[in-house]
Symmetry: C2
Subunit: 112 residues, 2 copies
DNA sequence: CCCGTATATTCCTTGACGCGTATATACGTG
DNA sequence: CACGTATATACGCGTCAAGGAATATACGGG
């Protein structure tokens, strides 16, 4: 899914997921815990909900949000084929430690 | 890292990573394979590079891009604590299949 | 040194996003 | 039904990212 990844692009939303991973929370608890305003929190929760990353359970006036593990599993599913790459790399490091003369310690990725 | 996640928010860039996972590619090959224009491809590659998700190797005029497995591993590291959640869920399904009366089959996430 | 190939960058416009403020809706209580 | 609590939404604004077209840079060959 596309909205799933764009939902994770925002660090605030990842922080919310980190909290929700510990326990399901009402909106007000997230507001207290993270310090965002209530409308902002609700709007981020809406994005997470549309992305399928969280689900809601209504409990009187309160909305209890919790992680939707299945959607998180989809993220993991996309990541899974890449996992083989760093396993190979770790394996390679074990075999011939300095074959690439530590060239990976050069920072060539943030040359801006 | 923050730029790492925002880089993945774009489906084009995820597609590029999917290609690069199979084999390292020059820019031109990515252009052919994915059908984006050359400037667009270069710009997306720049984002991926700044995010640390790919690295470049210069080879005459061509720039060979490849996955940076270490940064992908960081994504996996963030995802890891959540993995426990769906393992628990799968485990729970195994033990008492319909304890939550299949409530997770209701789509309450895309109510927009 | 000029040229062709390969790639990066700039400029510009447009659309999406996040925040804050204000307001609307839902729910329980007296 | 008026009220307070809890949450969601609408609006206006500033910022930012993406795409297209044009241009600039790097490299190798004759």
């Amino acid at each position: 899914m596309d909205s799933t990844w764009s939902a994770l692009a925002d660090p605030h939303r990842r922080a919310m997921l980190d909290v929700l991973r510990e326990r399901a929370c009402a909106v007000g608890e997230l507001v207290e815990e993270l310090g965002f305003t209530q409308p902002t929190t609700s709007k981020h929760l809406r994005v997470l909900r549309k992305a399928g990353l969280v689900r809601v359970r209504t409990e009187a006036q309160r909305r209890i949000y919790s992680i939707n593990a299945e959607q998180m599993a989809e993220l993991d599913a996309w990541l899974a084929p890449f996992r083989q790459l760093w396993n190979e790399r770790l394996d390679a490091l074990g075999h011939h430690l300095d074959k690439d003369e530590h060239s990976h310690s050069r920072k060539q990725t943030d040359e801006d």
